[in-house]
Each structure stands twice: as C-alpha cells, then as structure tokens.
Symmetry: D2
C-alpha cells in the first residue's frame, strides 16, 4: 500500500503530536515493506547495569507501530493503541541504541496490526518482539 | 502466601534498584490478596490533551507485577519480565493519578503470572488491563 | 449493562451458530456481573495423562467471551475474535470439567474486551487466564 | 542451531504424544530457519460459511511452536505452553488448508519463544499471527 508521507513529514508530525518525546526516536527507513526506527538511548531509558528498560522498549515498539500505520492512513486520523503483546527475550547491550523493525500485517477499516522486532544495534538476534493493534476511528472526511 | 517484606522495606528496595523512577510510584496496599500502587502523574507521563501515555501505563503495570512477585520471593532474586499483554480500554482522565490493582495468579519455581487493572483515580471502570510473566532465576542460596 | 437474552435463548443461539460444538459447553450463570460456562470434558479434549488440551481451553475462553459480548449487544451482530492473550498456569486435573468465569471489561461501539479465568472444577486456583478482544461490526439496523 | 530430528522422526513422535490429533497436521519443511506445517482442514475445524475456527488455528500455531522447539531440544523434554498471544486478521478461505510458518526467536535454558504466521493456502497475506512461549523443564539427563 502506497505511503502518504515521507520521513521528513512524518518526523515533523511526530514532533508536533508527541512533544514529550521529541528527539528520542529517529526514522531510518520507511517504505511499503518495512519501517526502521531508532531509540536514541540516554540515561533516562536505562536500568542499573546499563540495560534498556522495558518501558523504553515498549515505547519504541508502540511509536513504530503508530508511524507504520499513520504512514498508510495519513495524519488526519487519531489512531490509538488498543492492544500490545510483548516478549522480552534477551538483555539489551549496554551503551547501544535499540533498533525497531516494524511490518504492518493488516490494515483494515477500523484496525491495524503491526509486528515489531527490537534489536540492540549491531546484534543479530532480537532483544524483544511485539505485536500491536491500533484502532482507527472513522475519518471525518469519509 | 506470606509476604517477605512490608511497604517501607519494599519502597526502599525499589528506590535502590530503580533510581531512575524514584518518586514516580507509591505502594498503597500490599498484602496476600492484592497490591495497590499509584503512578503520581506528572508532565513527562502525559500526551496532548492531558491523557496519560501508554508507556507510562505499561511502566506502572510492570512495576506493580514486579513488586507483587518480589513481595513473595524476597529481594535477593533477579526477576525479569518475559511477557506482557496489555489492553488499553479507555482514555485516562486528565489531571488524575493512575491506580494499579495487581493480583498474583501463579507463583511457580521459575515463573510468576500477575494480572493488573489500571484505573484513573476515582473512576469505576479500568482504563487498561495487563497480564505479565516474570522469569525467576534460581536463587543463589538455594 | 442489561442483558438482551436469557440462558435458554443464548443456548439455542449457540447451537444454531456453532453446530460443530453443540453439547460441549453449558452456560451456568449469565448476568451483568459474570458469565460462568462449563466445558464438558470428553475424550477428544484430552492429552495423554488425562489433562485437558490447550486448544480445548482456548475454545472455552473464546466462546465465553463471545457469549458475554452477545448477551449485551444481541444476537444480530456478527462479532469476531481479533485478539487473544492466554496464560496456561497449572495442569488441569484429570477427569474434571473446566469452568470459565468471564467478565466484560469494556463494551465499546466497535470492540469488546473480556477477561476469563479457567478452573478445574472444584479447585481454587485458575489453570489458565485469557483476555480476548471481539470486533463488533456496525449493526445493519443501526 | 542444529536440529535433533528429521521430519519422519518428528511425525512419529507427534503421533505418539498427541494420538488425538493424529493425521490433522503435516510437517512440510523443518530446518534451522523455518518450520512449515499444514492443518488438513476437515469438517470439525469449520464454522458456518466454511471458515476455519479460531480454536483450530490456535491448535496449529501451538503445535508448530511445539515442533519447532522440540526439533532443537530433542524429544526427551516435556515442554508446555505457558503463553500465547494471537491476532486473527482475516477470514480464512473456505475449502483451503491452513499453512503455518514458524520461527524460533529465542531458545533459552528454560523458555522458548516462537513466532508463527498462518495463511490460507495460496494466499499472500496471513489470516493470523501468534507468538508462543514454551517452558522447558530441566532435562533429567542434564
């Protein structure tokens, strides 16, 4: 499905709707097959030992699913997360960013389902996986 | 199952192991039936419109399941979250703390399962529900 | 929320829409607070050792969430399961039915969320827990 | 990770441990990257309209994760499902088998995590996705 925005537009949109996390995330690839996003890990994302916290990984998976959905339906829609299932599988490497790879498996009229794998940058095996459902309210212009 | 700590000891333990979130959470009740924890909502937990962010609610559910498990197995153990399924059901009320009510459904030798409901303070219906699995490594003293 | 059907009507409706499982399930209580359903365990639900299979427990949780939702929205609607998270926590007792206790946590315009606990009959602690989302299509008469 | 069994050995093992579902499932590919399994859809897997039931799809995802795990750890181990999160995304096509594609994302000492996508045979987009955790008890010979 063709995308409605490019990376620059999407980044500006994210800064506007989520000012609290401005600068935490960077979109590295956004096309019809895959979205790649980076969590720029800083002190407040960490737990003792230098590992990245669960809530920080959840936040990355959630924003990646949001961006992947928005890129398809356009920024007029007010999509909200209704469900997330997340498996934490390995301890993230200290001192590395987390990279999310997100794939939209379904984009229906009222729901999207996105699968996300999270990696410590440079590692082969994922530190976590998540699947997220967004509820898409009826477009006002529909 | 009898608890190994009281609220004061648990709060001191949390401050020690999670210094990054010191002051965000307060334990209001902790006994064999139920754990009640409060997220003291401040600016960084919010989204536009005053609603509490998904990652902040995830963080509260996660720490509540952690505390409920630790209260039973004792603080020597290094439990880690392996899975969380969370449903976001209603928009939290602006300007209100979030209250978690957590119940341990299983405490096995290697896994615990905890169910958590999250409420905007003073509301009857939950804003979210979550179930979390913690993996409990073998005790060093066992 | 007031229910639209009683147990006899619901049972007749289930027999009509799910003829393949006729006789497997019995509704024991159905009111605004709680739905209680029984899986009448027979040979085809078992695994070696007499334990009840995972798919049989999933089926019970799914039908309980369906019945709890239908009881509220009425039988004209074609609700479909969109998500289920299930935790298997204990081995069911051999030779006992499984009892589901289901509670509707949210009934929105397009989604319902139901939480279900499953018990081996006569036991105190649940053998499994599940949370299920049903998608509710727009009513044709709306 | 090298596999401990080939398809013929695994099929014989499944017939032995799950006699109730003998003949329902066929392993079509089993190597270090991917497991492909088929649910041979027959009358008892159906719902009105010819669609495959949710419990039948759950059963396929569950057995695929089991086989993928067993292929790695060997058949002496008594792995049990502890968690499954499943998203039903499209209605299966009437009259077609369901094909599962399963990938083991983690194989730890006590837990495995497997991701499964389910397809109506011949279709490009999945009808469902699931992630499953198996708990692996300590080997008796370890």
């Amino acid at each position: 499905m063709a995308l409605t925005m490019d990376i620059a537009e999407m980044t500006a949109f994210l800064d506007e709707v989520f000012p609290q996390v401005r600068g935490d995330f960077a979109i590295e690839r956004m096309d019809e097959d895959l979205l790649v996003m980076r969590l720029k890990v800083v002190e407040r994302h960490l737990r003792p030992g230098g590992t990245v916290s669960g809530p920080a990984m959840f936040a990355l998976a959630d924003v990646a699913a949001y961006v992947a959905t928005m890129a398809r339906i356009g920024k007029q829609a007010l999509a909200v997360t209704t469900n997330c299932a997340i498996d934490f599988m390995r301890k993230p490497q200290a001192g590395r960013d987390i990279i999310a790879r997100a794939e939209v498996l379904k984009l229906g009229r009222t729901l999207s389902v996105t699968e996300v794998r999270l990696f410590s940058e440079g590692m082969d095996m994922p530190v976590a996986r998540a699947s997220l459902t967004y509820s898409i309210p009826p477009s006002e212009t529909a």
